[in-house]
């Protein structure tokens, strides 16, 4: 019973949504479900946010390693909730848009979250370098091709790449590194992308059907209890 009802909900909702694509009167069901999803996600946050608060309170209470940082996290979390939900420091007052420019809430985003975000993102520049050092080694045929493609594209972006093949006559311009780089992007690269994309489409069909039919149900919890 505890298992049958969720599986029925799943099968019915899934089937109706598949069919709705072909039935104009039901066409907007997809949008409705998206709305429902958004609303459910807000409720779910009580569990997620509650979990965050519980874990850090526990850490603090039991004085576990690094408990001091938990105070910072908790303070930041509740600070944002209070100024965002009660719209404290918002020039427009309680009726205004919470993310209005000049509000404390949005200022905190601009001056705390924003630099953190972009710095975290910028770490990629370093990791791209360390990953290419380690991974692009001609260990076998596959790795060699990976290396060559990356190498040509990278080289095509530096003046050296241009200089290296500048002697190639114009009628063979395809062999000049910058042009070769573009050709790789537009031909073999495109081919690989297409095969991956088509495969993904079919994989989704098969997995969705397994879910809707209830063959795949590990996420629904245990059989008993």
């Amino acid at each position: 019973m505890r298992r049958a009802i969720p599986l029925t909900i799943l099968a019915v909702v899934g089937t109706v949504l598949i069919v709705s694509v072909f039935l104009p009167p039901l066409e907007n069901l997809g949008e409705d479900f998206t709305l429902f999803f958004d609303i459910i996600a807000v409720f779910a946050f009580f569990l997620g946010g509650g979990n965050l608060v519980r874990i850090h309170f526990n850490k603090l209470w039991r004085k576990r390693k690094d408990w001091g940082f938990s105070i910072v996290t908790l303070f930041g979390f509740f600070f944002m909730l209070v100024i965002g939900l009660l719209k404290i420091g918002n020039p427009g007052g309680i009726g205004a848009d919470p993310t209005a420019e000049g509000s404390w809430f949005q200022e905190t985003f601009n001056y705390v979250i924003n630099p953190l975000q972009s710095t975290m993102y910028a770490l990629l520049a370093f990791f791209v370098a360390s990953a290419s050092y380690r991974a692009f080694r001609a260990k076998n045929r596959e790795a060699t091709l990976l290396l060559l493609a990356a190498f040509i594209i990278l080289l095509g972006r530096t003046p050296f790449g241009v200089m290296l093949t500048a002697w190639v006559p114009e009628s063979w311009s395809i062999a000049q590194i910058p042009n070769l780089a573009v050709w790789i992007m537009n031909s073999p690269n495109l081919a690989g992308q297409r095969a991956i994309i088509i495969g993904i489409g079919l994989g989704v069909v098969s997995m969705s059907l397994r879910l809707i039919l209830g063959i795949e149900r590990s996420y629904l919890g245990e059989d008993r209890g």
């Binding site: 001609a138 003046p159 050296f160 000049q176 537009n186």
Partner: protein, 331 residues
């Protein structure tokens, strides 16, 4: 005893050399010299080390990347950006049109794309005015108009104080309607743009005396690459109107445009690199522009050095791998 003396001696010589260099070169040159020495010296040292199949700590790689990006920002290091064929085609077209030709430049981008696209838009605007072409500025993007005004008032016009609004250039601004706008102006400008941004009727603007539609233009460049963008200019104006169109776009979009080159697009400027190449050609052709602002070339300094560092590390990694394998075999 002797060892200490040798170290001292070497240190003294080094200090003397450093002071000598500092006296000979101005500070900026010195910074450039030191940072390039640091990067390339370091890379050579690692290269030599790699022969013994010694792996490099990732933090060393991080350090190289940091220096490669920071140094050119502190001490502007620029590289020769020999223009690629696609960029050179655009430059040559602007260069080869007789002075007095009419060129339309459309700023079809938003603030997010601006860091990549605005430098090339500025460079080409500058080139056209320098060459004595009449320039019509416009935008298909609502957010593009502000950027267009910014480019004109802050960068381009101050460099050409003698150019007159309405005679040498005109800004007709933005009109809503995306491809619809193009559909109309391919046969009639006035219908879509009754006035310029200063509300002067098009009929009273000298440039439009013999320009009725896009068909009368000599050249069009669209900057952006979003939607609507260069592709739409080709499909709705370039092809039906028989006008030459070129594109200046963000780097990610560029490969998608290559199939249109050279049949439907005169040339393509892709990302900061495209802008840098154009700026380089401009500086080379017009020595009096050598002091102009070149954000593209400036951005390419860190980019190029970082790419060189990454390429070098790929080479070092492979040497280590092959030397390491030989060692294993030897044992």
């Amino acid at each position: 005893m002797g060892k200490v003396n040798l170290t001292l001696l070497l240190a003294a010589v080094a200090i003397v050399i450093i002071i000598a260099i500092a006296l000979i070169f101005p500070l900026e040159r010195l910074g450039q010299l030191y940072s390039l020495l640091l990067i390339f010296g370091g890379l050579v040292a690692l290269l030599l080390r790699s022969i013994f199949a010694k792996e490099v700590d990732r933090r060393i790689i991080f350090l190289f990347i940091f220096v490669a990006v920071a140094a050119p920002l502190l001490f502007p290091i620029t590289f020769s950006e020999k223009p690629t064929a696609v960029v050179k085609a655009v430059f040559d077209r602007v260069e080869s049109l007789p002075p007095g030709s009419t060129v339309l430049l459309s700023f079809d981008f938003d603030p997010a794309m601006a860091p990549e696209v605005q430098p090339m838009a500025n460079a080409i605007s500058r080139h056209c005015l320098k060459k004595g072409h009449k320039v019509i500025f416009m935008s298909l993007w609502a957010t593009g108009q502000a950027l267009l005004t910014q480019s004109l008032t802050n960068t381009i016009l101050p460099e050409f104080p003698e150019k007159q609004d309405g005679i040498d250039y005109v800004n007709i601004g933005y009109k809503a309607g995306n491809e619809g706008v193009l559909n109309v102006i391919v046969s009639n400008f006035e219908k879509m743009f009754p006035t310029d941004v200063n509300s002067v009727p098009l009929g009273e603007i000298e440039i439009f005396d013999d320009i009725r539609s896009c068909r009368d233009l000599d050249f069009i460049v669209s900057f952006g690459g979003g939607l609507p963008g260069s592709k739409e200019w080709v499909l709705f104006v370039g092809d039906p109107g028989g006008v030459d169109v070129a594109a200046g776009v963000a780097a990610v979009v560029a490969p998608q445009l290559y199939p249109y080159y050279p049949a439907q697009l005169v040339g393509i400027l892709g990302g900061v690199k495209g802008a840098a190449e154009y700026e380089f050609s401009l500086k080379e052709t017009y020595p009096d522009l050598k002091d102009m602002d070149t954000p593209g070339l400036k951005m390419m300094g860190p980019q190029t050095l970082a790419h060189i560092v990454i390429i070098s590390f790929i080479v070092i990694g492979n040497i280590i791998y092959f030397r390491g394998r030989r060692k294993e075999k030897g044992q």
